[in-house]
C-alpha cells in the first residue's frame, strides 16, 4: 500500500515534469512569435538575443493593415474555408460511416482508392486540375475552389476509424423502429461521434485556412486572393521583415485558436453524452 502511494507521488511528479517540459518547448517559439510581432525590426536581430528588449509597438500590425487589403483577403479566406469545411464535413462523415458500417459492392476497392488520393503530391495533379477547372469555366469562382475540395480522404479515413469503434449492433434498434438508413446515420450515429466530428471540423478549417498554394493556383484574379497568399507577400526576396511576418501569423492564427477553444467545450459535452448512452 505504501509503495503504491509513493508510486502515485512519483507518477504525479513525472507527469507534471514531462508536461511542463513539453509546454515550454511548444510555447517558447510562440512566445517569440508574439513578442517579435510587437518589436521594431532593428531590435529583432540584435545580439545577444533577448526576448524582452527594445521598443514595443503596434507598427507591424499597422503595416499589415496599410500594405494589404486585409479585410478582403480575410473575407475570401472565410468564404473559402467555411464552405469547403461544411460541405466536406458532410460528405466525409457519410462516406466514412458507409465504409465503416455498411456493406456494398466494391467497398474495399473504393476505400483503397480513397486512401490512394492522399498519396499524390498536389504539384503533380495541379496542372491537369487547373485545366479542368478552366474548361468547366470555373476559374476565379468560389464554386471552382469548393468543388475539388468538397470531400477529403483524410476526413473519410478518420471518420471511418471512429464509426468502426462504436459498439456493434447500434443500428438494430433503429432498424426495428423502421427508420431509414439516413435517419439511423443522422439520429443515432452522428451524435455519438460528435467529438470526432468537431475535431474534423477544426482540422478541415485550419487546413483550408492555411493553404497557400491551392487557392493561388486555381484563381488568377487579384480579387480572389486569400490571406496566406497576402501574407506571403511580406516575405521579401532579399529582405525578411520578421516583425510583419510574425504579426501576420498571429492574426491568421487567431480565428482558428478561438474555434479550437470553443470546440474544446464541445469535446467535453460529447464525452458526457457518450457516457450517458454507455
Amino acid at each position: 500500500m505504501k509503495t503504491g502511494h509513493t508510486g502515485k507521488r512519483v507518477g504525479w511528479l513525472l507527469r507534471i515534469l514531462v508536461l511542463g517540459i513539453l509546454l515550454f518547448v511548444v510555447l517558447y517559439p510562440f512566445l517569440w512569435m508574439v513578442v517579435t510581432s510587437f518589436k521594431a525590426e532593428a531590435d529583432i536581430v540584435a545580439f545577444p538575443p533577448k526576448l524582452f528588449s527594445g521598443h514595443f509597438g503596434l507598427q507591424s500590425y499597422i503595416d499589415i493593415w496599410k500594405r494589404i487589403p486585409f479585410m478582403d483577403y480575410y473575407k475570401n479566406t472565410i468564404i473559402f474555408a467555411t464552405s469547403v469545411t461544411c460541405v466536406s464535413l458532410l460528405f466525409d462523415t457519410m462516406a466514412g460511416y458507409a465504409f465503416a458500417r455498411m456493406k456494398f459492392p466494391g467497398k474495399n476497392i473504393m476505400f483503397l482508392l480513397v486512401m490512394g488520393t492522399m498519396m499524390i503530391p498536389f504539384q503533380v495533379i495541379m496542372i491537369p486540375l487547373f485545366v479542368e477547372i478552366f474548361k468547366l469555366n470555373l476559374t476565379n469562382t468560389y464554386l471552382g475552389l469548393l468543388l475539388p475540395r468538397a470531400t477529403n480522404a483524410f476526413g473519410i479515413f478518420m471518420m471511418r476509424s471512429f464509426f468502426i469503434s462504436l459498439p456493434k449492433g447500434l443500428e438494430d434498434a433503429g432498424r426495428i423502429d423502421g427508420a431509414g438508413e439516413f435517419r439511423i446515420f443522422a439520429k443515432i450515429m452522428v451524435p455519438l461521434c460528435k467529438p470526432a466530428i468537431v475535431s474534423l471540423f477544426i482540422f478541415h478549417f485550419m487546413y483550408q485556412w492555411n493553404d497557400l498554394l491551392y487557392p493561388l493556383i486555381l484563381t488568377t484574379d487579384e480579387s480572389m486572393k486569400t490571406l496566406p497568399a497576402g501574407l506571403a507577400t511580406f516575405m521579401g526576396t532579399h529582405v525578411v521583415e520578421y516583425g510583419v511576418i510574425m504579426a501576420g501569423a498571429c492574426l491568421s492564427l487567431l480565428p482558428i485558436l478561438l474555434a479550437y477553444l470553443f470546440a474544446q467545450k464541445q469535446f467535453v459535452q460529447g464525452i458526457a453524452m457518450t457516457g450517458m448512452k454507455g
Binding site: 487579384e222 526576396t237 529582405v239
Partner: protein, 412 residues
Amino acid sequence: MKRKILAVVLAAAMVLPMATHVCAEESAEKTVITFWNGFTGSDKETLEALVNEYNETNDKNIEVEMTIMPWDSLYQKLATVLPVGEGPDILAMATERIGTYAEPGAFVPIDDVYEAGIVDESVIPETLRENLKYDGTYYGVPMNFATLLLYYNKTIFEEAGLDPEAPPTTWEELEQYAQQIVDNTDKYGFDMAVKDTTPMWCIMLWGNGGDIIKDGKAVFNSPENVETITRWAENIRDKKFGPEVLTGGEIDKLFESQKLGMYFCGPWATNGFTDAGIDYGVAQAPAGPQEQITQANGVGMYLTSSSKQKEAVYDFFGWWNSKDTQVKWSLGTGFPPARTDIADDERLAENLYIAEFAKSANESKMYLQQLTNFAEVDTQAIVPAFEKILLENADVQETLDEANAVIESLIQ
C-alpha cells in the same frame, strides 16, 4: 439547421462569382492588362504606388492589374496558366530565366519596342542590355538593375583598429582587414553567401579572370578558379573569416546583428541597415589579381504569349523606363536606376548609396545568363560544389572537375 447553413453557403458560392463578373463588365471600355511579379516585401509598396500612378495618369485608358506573389509561387502558377493561354500580359522575373521561357515560346520577341523607340536601348547599362536578349533577340525591357557592393561595418572597423573611412580596395587588403577583425575582435571578418541568393563567390572568380560558362562551354574547373576557390575557402574555412555556408538571409542577419565586418550585398539592404542604426559604408568590390569587377542582377519585364494587348503593354514598358518613373523607383527601393543617363538627377542625391551602386554598372557581370535551365545548373552543380569544399573539406580540383562535368551535361 445544418442543412440550412449548407444551403446558404452553397448559394453564396454560386452568387458571389456572378457579382464579381458584373463589376468586370462595367469597366469594359478600359484596356485592362495584367502584370504578375514577385516583388514582395518592401519593394511591393513602391511598385504598387507607381502602378497606381500609371493607371491614373495614362491617357490611353489603360489599367494595369498587378498581382504580386512570392517568386516560387509565381513559377508554379505559370506552369499551369501559360499552356492554356491564361497567363498575364506582362511578367517580370530575373534575366537569367529568360531562356527557360523564351525557348518554348512563352515569351514573345519584342525587338520592335526598341525599333519604335518606345524604350531607348542606348541608355540601358550594357550588362543588362545584353541579357535582355536571348539568341540575339530582345525579349525584355528593364524592370530593375542592381550591382553588389562591399558593405562594411564602421564600428567593427574602429574596434579592430582599422580606418572606418578606408575600405579595402584589393584582395590583399580585404584579407588583411578581415584577419585583423578576427584577431582583434570577437566578430567575423568577411564572408560570402553560397545559396538562396545571388552567389557572391562569382565576384571572386571573375576578379581572378575565371568564369563558369564561357562561349557555351563549362569552364568551372579552370586553373584560375581552382586557385581562387582554394584561396578563399582557406580564408573562410581555415582562417575563420566567417561561417562556412550561408544563405542570403543568414548573411544579412549576421551583418545586421553587427557580428560580421564585411560582405557583398545588393542595394536592397541599405534601408533596413540604416533603420537598424548600423554605422556602415558601401564600397566597390575589392579588385582581384586580374580585374576589378562585381556582380549585377537584373529583372526584366516580358510580354507573354497569352497577351492580346501588345500596344497597351508597350505603353507601360515605355512609361516604366521613362526618366521620371526610374527616379521614383530608384528612390523608393534603393536600387540604382536601370538607365545610365540619370545618375546626376538631383533627386537621387537624397539616397547616399544609389550613386555608389550606379557607378559600378559597367564594371559588372551577370551570373549564368542565356541558359534554358539556369536553376538546375545553379542548384545541382555550383551550390553543391561550394558546400562540398566548405563543409566537407573536399579537394578543390576534384570537386570542380565533377561539378564541371555536371554543368557540361546540363547545358548540352
